[in-house]
């Protein structure tokens, strides 16, 4: 019987578009799914495509008129081999934290920790900040200012009781709940084996509560990645849930790539050991 990794990797490989990967099977290649698949499948062709997709400012993402989405830059840095392209991607992240807004009683936040955004010139959010944090921690650990800033952002945007949603703790005095997928994203960025960090521990508690209620493929896959990176013992339950997911219609390529990444050897490329 095939393992979860073998099944997801095979399905992912069938979904490729030439050397690279789009967000859905056979779609025009894009940096985010290609970076994830390159890591998950250890795929040199995908890495070459990715290197060719780097923009002049070192970023990776999608351009739509005046909108420069650069949120794939952290993932691309993690996927690229050591070299100039990877360093330029990290330089871009260093140079482009999100825009800050003044603190506001309606949407309270710390303006001193901007995080990273989905698009250049916009506000910071949890998932792109967690990606940037992971890239810095693995590939440029001496970027302590950026690492501290990203951790500070995640601490500031933590939901009441732990975990994260897209990045708003409260609006108009209403505490917003955490989501499974973004809580997993935050934990992937912050993970360290045997962590005693309260932020991480609260996030783990939140994720344990959330993923059984939010059984979408991306949530389950990123939760498995978080569990394995944190070396939590209950990962087998998530493997079972994901196997059942693969029995249904094929998930989109980003979710598939996360399943293959979380269940296979590629996850070591995201692990922070120190």
């Amino acid at each position: 019987m095939s393992t979860l990794f073998e099944r997801s990797a095979e399905t992912l490989d069938r979904a490729r578009s030439g050397d690279a990967f789009g967000p859905t099977a056979g779609a025009e290649p894009e940096p985010e799914p290609t970076a994830l698949a390159a890591i998950a499948l250890d795929d040199d062709a995908a890495r070459r495509w990715l290197a060719g997709a780097q923009r002049s400012d070192g970023s990776f993402g999608l351009t739509a008129g005046p909108v420069e989405n650069d949120a794939a830059t952290g993932l691309a840095a993690l996927a690229l081999p050591p070299g100039a392209e990877r360093e330029r991607a990290l330089d871009h992240l260093v140079a482009t934290p999100a825009r800050t807004l003044p603190s506001d009683p309606v949407v309270p936040h710390d303006p001193n920790v901007p995080g990273w955004g989905w698009a250049l010139g916009t506000a910071g959010w949890v998932e792109p900040t967690a990606r940037a944090l992971l890239a810095f921690r693995r590939l440029r650990p001496d970027a302590t200012g950026q690492i501290d800033g990203a951790v500070g952002f995640l601490a500031d945007r933590e939901c009441v009781g732990g975990g994260w949603n897209f990045g708003s703790r409260s609006v108009y005095d209403v505490d917003l709940p955490p989501f499974g997928q973004t809580t997993a994203a935050g934990l992937i960025g912050l993970h360290a084996p045997a962590s005693n960090d309260e932020l991480v521990l609260r996030g783990i508690d939140a994720l344990r509560r959330l993923w059984p209620l939010e059984r979408g493929p991306l949530t389950l896959a990123m939760s498995l990645a978080a569990y394995r990176l944190l070396e939590l013992p209950e990962a087998d339950e998530l493997v079972g849930a994901l196997e059942r997911t693969l029995d249904g219609p094929a998930p989109d390529v980003i979710a598939l790539a996360w399943i293959a990444l979380a269940s296979g050897p590629g996850l070591s490329e995201l692990a922070v050991t120190a």
């Binding site: 909108v67 998932e127 949530t219």
Partner: protein, 354 residues
């Protein structure tokens, strides 16, 4: 009813800046009003004059009756022409919370699939790009929409992941200049915007125009679609709606949301569906049903200058009188001046999905 002035708009959207006291010294309101009249950030030849669109307010007490026939009749009454045309239904699925009524009810969406088929559509699909969550299959499943669409054999497309097409903007309320919209939206013969009738803590109300935000793909514009907020939320609503141009609208006001909408408000039974062929006229009418002054909702008022009909005297009501169908929705204090009257008393619903 008077249009909201720019200062009120800025105060509500939180972008009043230091130095505003220097604006308009000694000039009174005449110069800003004159400037506003001559500021026409749209291509005239891209938008037909709105005429006298029909809007239908239908009393519908619950989601359990023959919604398919209600929707079919409603679409016929407003003059929908669907025979032989491909149709995309765009419900509101911005995120999912089992404790309230964020989403267009799945029973209404499924009934609309069937009604649209009865009216001869060549194809129908249901599509949305959730704005807060990336895991769309979870939202579709948890909300119950997946099961309902399975029952009627309808396909769902995740607009956050669909291929995109560049669409030049013919209005310029933002500096975006163009939007990259999902091909299924661009290629559909008819887009039906199916919003939930809700208050909105930044925009006053979220109806068929604001619902078009879900057509903007998150993988470019983010989760949430923060690029649009930076561009100016109300301005972006106008530009996105003018790009998507939903030909038909069905507003789910059987149970709506009041207070701190669009996510954290309170369910309110308004007992109506609002049908229309002009998003500005439909949203103006739905606002009246909510007990809100449409002229005070900035994006409705501005869209009424070019995109559709906001002059209430020119909107042909072919169903219930919207003001007599009013359920006064509670709003946040910052939007209190939108309220038109007390309306019918109502009781909040304890179980959001009841």
């Amino acid at each position: 009813m008077k249009p909201m002035d720019r200062r009120t708009f800025l105060r509500r959207t939180g972008i009043v800046v230091a130095g505003s006291a220097a604006v308009g010294l000694g000039a009174g309101a005449a110069i800003p009003n004159l400037l506003h009249r001559f500021h026409r950030p749209w291509d005239d030849d891209a938008f037909a004059p709105p005429g006298r669109p029909k809007v239908l307010v239908a009393r519908v007490d619950s989601y359990d009756g023959d919604l398919e026939t209600t929707v079919e009749d409603g679409l016929r009454e407003v003059g929908a022409s669907l025979a032989g045309r491909s149709v995309l239904l765009k419900p509101n699925l911005v995120e999912y919370d089992p404790g309230t009524v964020i989403n267009t009810d799945p029973r209404l969406v499924a009934a609309t699939v069937l009604a649209v088929r009865r009216l001869g559509a060549s194809s129908v699909l249901v599509a949305e790009g959730p704005g807060h969550r990336r895991d769309t299959p979870f939202v579709v499943s948890a909300s119950g929409l997946g099961e309902r669409l399975g029952e009627v054999g309808a396909r769902f497309v995740d607009l956050n992941l669909a291929p995109v097409t560049r669409v030049p903007l013919h209005s310029r309320f933002t500096d975006l200049g163009e939007l990259w919209l999902p091909a299924p939206v661009v290629e559909a013969d008819v887009v039906i915007s199916m919003p939930k009738m809700k208050t909105h803590h930044w925009a006053g109300a979220t109806l068929s125009m604001k619902n078009c935000f879900g057509c903007v793909p998150g993988r470019i514009y983010g989760w949430p679609k923060n690029v649009l907020h930076w561009a100016g939320l109300q301005e972006a609503i106008v530009d996105v709606a003018s790009a998507v141009r939903p030909e038909l609208q069905i507003v789910d006001g059987i149970v709506g949301m009041e207070g701190n909408g669009p996510i954290d408000g309170t369910p309110v039974h308004a007992g109506v569906l609002v049908f229309g062929t002009d998003p500005v006229a439909t949203d103006s009418t739905a606002a009246l049903v909510m007990g809100l002054d449409p002229a005070g909702i900035w994006h409705v008022s501005e869209a009424g200058r070019f995109l559709g009909q906001s002059d209430l005297e020119q909107i042909v009501q072919v169903g219930e009188d919207p003001e007599r169908s009013m359920t006064s929705f509670d709003v946040l204090p910052v939007f209190q001046d939108l309220k038109t009257g007390s309306g019918d008393a109502h009781a909040g619903l304890g179980d959001a999905n009841a």
